[in-house]
Symmetry: C2
Subunit: 335 residues, 2 copies
DNA sequence: CTGAAAGCGCTTACAG
DNA sequence: CTGAAAGCGCTTACAG
């Protein structure tokens, strides 16, 4: 089956290609094409099964109506939910989404960014990782619109949509202390990432505000690349070395799940004294035997939606917007 | 910053654009460009920060090096893991992935397929839903390579990668019966989908093979669009109406989660008698208070990888392959 | 070995 | 109102 082009329609109808283009792009009226002719073209297009070639259109107009999305790991439920929300909002606005996972590897980020630029994406939505500052700066130079979502850099000018990591974490710990819990350990991941730094700082400052001194031995960090093993080691060290440990607060939902698994294997369940708390939620958590006492629920849907709206705004704008959107963390507790 | 094109490099070096193109596409040797010239071009390209315009390339060559992926719901962990595996394998082969969710709505499938065709994807990987036969047939007519993954149609010629739904389900029920459990209910979703039909048939035939008569009242179906409420109703009906019910077998991982939640709320825990079983797994099922007794674990990684390999093979092939790949379901039980 | 030229399918100023 | 033509950036036969 031969591909039908604008030329075929024009020839069959004995009109110019320009006319067909106008009609197919809804500019018939604007270009004062007669209603009769408009209908004729539309009917013929349908009859022949015409489909626009968006590659050609993109080359000609310089606009691809595509957004490139880089997440840390699409198989992680936080990011897949974020991707869903971004996909829906983008489609609603006539944009497609190309995606890829960086796996917290800045080299992969940079490869993805390059591939997406070669594809002429109109803008990028990026969950940035350590080292991405360099690539982000290149986007500035090239004047390619982008939005950072979930991840950001404190000292970098960028359109940003994030949750309030600092205040959210502070509030979680505050609530725990309000429940009379004082010996609280904290497990982080890739702690050098700014959003994780903020969560740690929230933990520290909430302790301080309540007259509890910070102990470095209560804080552990695991690495993305070795998350399962690292979490096991971290939890075991906390349980074995910290006297009177009451609760372990995990820096994201995945750590909470992994950590809880370790606790269960160690037979250190709620009953035996060690509670958990989580920045980040997951549908499963309520089904667990050891439900985290206090959970921070990220507004994933709104984050994705706002990220798309912001990137579209930036795409349309001729000046750099530098907007920062910070969404509050929702907090729930059991019992 | 002006976009650098092949023309800029050619002019600066005083050579033809063809030469630059050859070098940038690794055809220097083939086209007998001198090593010296090759180096000169490469250095200049780097110096100017040249990036190929893949839109132009795609228009000219008719190949976009892009695969379109349609899943039922990217926020579902089964599909997000599948997407990850597809993404990795595609990137490894120099292909990008554009994706979208159909939400089990054939109209959305068709829109996505159209958008992807307009974008000149080289091939499609589709988790098909009810009604997609029509669009799939159009792909045949248009000779656009595609692979069905996870989902398929019995009476449709298509390259397919699926898990063995029938045998997997049969084996799960067989194992349950082997544990002395006889009163087994089954909860399905969108049961008219072929892969779900196969799971139901496996359940039925395993009962029959063990001399247990099939009771329609033990089987429930929920709809994708109303999954939470439907599951609640289904589980409640089973618990309230079926005497001596021993176990509820859920047709996928998500149903298992939702159903277990309902059971918990009804205070019908394992202890009180009703067990669960699941076609489909999730990393954190082991953390549940009521771990499913027997779980079927889909080989998601291999499915994605094989789907990509098959679509690439079909893209390169001039004839329709009609390959069917059926992967076995892995089964685990607790205790 | 190298250069000039056509053409992928589209949009858009321009001329009439 | 309509048509002829240029050009987006690239690749590739073709001529030399």
């Amino acid at each position: 089956m031969k591909k039908i082009t604008i030329k075929d329609i024009a020839e069959e109808l004995g009109v110019s290609r320009a006319l067909v283009s106008f009609v197919m792009n809804g500019k018939a009226e604007e270009m004062r094409v007669s209603r009769v002719m408009e209908e004729k073209v539309k009917r013929k297009a349908k009859e022949l099964g015409y489909m626009a070639n968006r590659t050609a259109k993109a080359l000609r107009t310089g606009k691809s109506n595509t957004i490139g999305l880089i997440v840390a790991d699409i198989s992680n439920s936080f990011f897949s939910k974020l991707a869903k929300s971004i996909e829906i909002e983008a489609m609603k606005n006539g944009y497609d989404v190309i995606f890829g996972s960086s796996d917290e590897d800045s080299l992969k980020s940079s490869n993805l960014i390059n591939v997406f630029i070669e594809r002429n994406v109109d803008g990028l939505i990026i969950c940035a990782t350590e080292g991405d500052q360099e690539w982000v700066n290149k986007l500035h130079e090239r004047k390619i619109p982008f939005v950072l979502v979930d991840r950001f850099f404190h000292d970098l000018e960028a359109n940003t949509v994030v949750v309030d990591n600092y205040m959210g974490s502070y509030e979680i710990v505050q609530r725990l202390i309000g429940k009379g819990i004082k010996k609280i350990a904290y497990v982080s991941i890739n702690e050098w990432l700014p959003h994780m730094k903020d969560r740690l700082l929230g933990y520290k400052n909430a302790l301080k505000a309540n007259g509890i001194s910070y102990e470095a031995s209560l804080v552990k960090n695991v690495s993305f690349d070795n998350i399962v093993e690292d979490t096991e080691v971290a939890v075991k060290e906390l349980i074995n070395n910290i006297k009177d440990l009451e609760l372990i607060y995990f820096g994201n939902y995945f750590l909470t799940l992994l950590g809880t698994k370790v606790l269960r294997e160690m037979n250190k369940k709620n009953l035996s004294g060690v509670l958990t708390s989580s920045f980040g939620n997951h549908l499963f958590m309520e089904l667990m035997e050891d439900i985290p006492l206090v959970r921070g629920i990220q507004p994933i849907g709104p984050m994705g939606k706002q990220a798309v709206q912001l990137i579209l705004k930036q795409i349309k704008s001729s000046v750099f917007l530098n907007e920062k959107i910070i969404l509050p963390l929702d907090i729930v507790e059991i019992g």
